[in-house]
């Protein structure tokens, strides 16, 4: 058996008029690595016919930092700070998934207080991430002002994190066996204030953007991802739910204290950009609901159940755990050989899978639609490249 390995140079343009009734010459154009629409250093190689997108070829690796290799050479606690920097908008959830797998592998127990705080923090982070996304999709569609509004509201959540955790973005807060430190005395009060502040703001989002005729024209029935395709591409999170598959790990395999709260899973119907948009807006309201149910009931207890100084050495084996971040399912796969460092440290990141459906759903639309579709997928590039 001999396997042919290709390179980018193998890409060729079809002869004029191959894909369209007119005798037009297609051309390649690079969107990225530095392009305002790609939210980072994603490079999309586009094959265009005028304004029409014929093919999207994502070229990755412009922020491939080798986190899996570093993880293999770090102790279990050290891997936590690496995953912060993957999907930095879901940093706490990324901390949590590693902690979850390590806890399961090493048989570490946590208490209710820890799980309550983890859940609240995760939902706050989801809110923070979605407000940012809402601003960015506005900007990608050409309206600059939503961007500022989204960031304005995000600041309040950042303040809450900063007070308890000390960091604004890369939290490194949820540890195997507990939390880095206890919540700040003001935490409960300020979180409630934030929720009261945010609820009318979500309505304002609807008024400013969701109800706008141009926004709807740009999103409705554009970039349709069918449920079968969505599953086949392995998409998760709001992208999959927008296609009508009610797959939410918070509901299906409740972790943390999600089993104790009432909330609905926002599900779309058509799987177009608009559904992906509206599912996220609905999720914001659900997150508010979840936090409201939990914030008054945080039980007493320790915030850490194990000694931090002691190295964690899980028994030999292969462990896989996953949970729902703001963008989808993050999975952590750890292979332990009984030492204090993982033998193999692999992360199944949501954006990696979500990105690839772009190659299908953006085909045939215009460049402007490609930007809108990419934005509705809510991609964070370092999460893809790792």
């Amino acid at each position: 058996m001999s396997v042919k390995v290709k390179t980018l140079d193998d890409l060729t343009l079809p002869p004029p008029g191959a894909d369209s009734p007119l005798s037009t010459q297609e051309y390649f154009i690079n969107m990225g690595p530095q392009h305002p629409a790609t939210h980072g250093v994603l490079r999309l190689l586009l094959r265009l016919d005028g304004e029409n997108v014929r093919e999207v070829i994502p070229v990755l690796g412009y922020i491939h930092r080798g986190i899996e290799k570093i993880g293999e050479n770090s102790s279990y606690r050290q891997t936590i700070h690496l995953v912060d920097r993957l999907d930095y908008l879901s940093a706490l959830m990324n901390n949590w998934v590693v902690s979850m797998v390590v806890e399961r592998a090493a048989g570490i127990e946590t208490n209710d207080r820890i799980e309550y705080i983890r859940t609240i923090m995760a939902e706050l982070q989801r809110l923070q991430s979605h407000t940012l996304w809402w601003g960015v999709i506005g900007m990608d569609l050409g309206a600059f002002t939503p961007f500022l509004y989204g960031f304005r509201d995000r600041e309040y959540a950042t303040d809450i994190f900063e007070e308890t955790i000390g960091a604004r973005l890369t939290m490194n807060y949820i540890q195997p066996g507990g939390l880095m430190n206890d919540i700040h005395p003001n935490f409960v009060k300020r979180t409630k204030e934030f929720l009261e502040y945010l609820k009318p703001k979500i309505d304002e989002y609807d008024e400013l953007v969701s109800g706008n005729a141009i926004i709807q024209k740009r999103l409705v029935n554009i970039g349709i991802l069918s449920a079968e395709d969505a599953i086949s591409f392995g998409t998760t999170g709001p992208v999959l739910r927008a296609s009508g598959v009610p797959y939410d790990l918070r509901k299906i395999e409740p972790y943390g204290v999600y089993g104790k709260v009432e909330f609905d899973v926002a599900v779309g119907q058509a799987g177009d950009s608009w559904d992906r948009y509206i599912v996220r807006v609905m999720e914001m309201r659900e997150s508010v609901k979840i936090i409201e149910q939990l914030i008054d009931n945080i039980p007493e207890g320790d915030y850490m159940t194990v000694k931090v100084a002691k190295a964690i050495k899980p028994p030999e084996g292969r462990y896989y755990g996953h949970l729902e971040t703001a963008r989808g399912v993050i999975g952590c796969f750890i292979v332990s050989d009984g030492k204090d460092k993982p033998y193999r440290f692999h992360l199944r990141t949501p954006n990696f899978n979500n990105l690839w459906c772009l190659t299908k759903i953006a085909k045939g639309w215009k460049i402007a639609d490609l930007v809108a579709i990419a934005s509705s997928l809510d991609i964070v590039i370092p999460d893809i490249d790792r």
Binding site: P33, Q34, H35, P36, G40, V41, G61, Y62, I63, H64, R65, G66, I67, K69, I70, E72, N73, H81, L82, D84, R85, Y88, L89, L132, G135, F147, L148, F151, R152, R154, E155, T158, R168, L169, T170, I381, P382
Partner: protein, 217 residues
């Protein structure tokens, strides 16, 4: 180019009043009109957006909200985030596409030293100063928006000191815009106020230590 050149002796040909005044005016315009390029690779980019985008921090007060998407029109390259081997040529190219005068602020540990990705990473560059000449380093992982502002204010100070007409090619060694440790909030405020009022005593660079200088590019 690229060769170190010693600074001229004190009082040498730069005592022209008109040129000095013109220098001041041009430097004033340049430092007050730093249009950044939209360039962010990872986490630091979010904090940079918090600084440039968010209404709380509001970079527009300094006239730097005109974020340009094309390097041709930008003055300031804020390198926000890790640069890996594959990205390095792109970064260099972006820098070269920018029109003179151009300034570079490197934010975050990754751009200074590689940050958390120094060991065992087969791609992450350990600092970007090999790729592009950096004017100001802003440490932090990621640096707060306030820290970025401090970096921008430091850069403004540097630009004001610069001799723009007589010696247009001079470029300083990079400066780290980090506040000293154990500073209280009040002291930071004082320092910021001082910078804002432009009353910081500017040492004449040409009459100072000549080793501070190095021919850029």
């Amino acid at each position: 180019m690229g060769i170190e050149q010693t600074a001229p002796a004190p009082g040498d040909s730069n005592s022209n009043f008109l040129l000095t005044t013109l220098d001041d005016v041009v430097s004033w315009a340049r430092k007050n009109s730093l249009w950044p390029l939209t360039f962010g690779t990872s986490c630091c980019a979010i904090e940079m957006m918090m600084a440039t985008g968010a209404s709380r921090h509001d970079i527009s007060r300094f006239g730097a909200e005109v974020v340009r998407a094309t390097p041709r029109q930008a003055d300031l390259l804020i390198v926000a985030g890790t640069i890996v081997k594959r990205m390095a040529p792109v970064l260099r190219r972006l820098y070269e596409q920018m029109a003179e005068p151009r300034y570079v602020i490197a934010t975050g540990s990754c751009t200074i030293s590689g940050g958390p990705f120094i060991y065992h990473s087969y791609t992450t560059l350990r600092g970007i100063s090999d790729v592009v000449p950096v004017d100001v380093f802003v440490p932090g992982c990621p640096p707060r928006p306030e820290a970025l502002f401090y970096g921008i204010l430091t850069l403004q100070k540097l630009i004001q000191e610069e001799e723009t007409i007589g010696k247009p090619g001079y470029r300083r060694k990079p400066v780290t815009a980090a506040l000293p440790p154990n500073m209280s909030i009040d002291e930071i405020k004082e320092e910021m106020a001082k910078l804002l009022e432009q009353q910081a005593i500017v040492k004449d660079p040409l009459k100072g230590d000549s080793t501070e200088f190095m021919r850029g590019r």
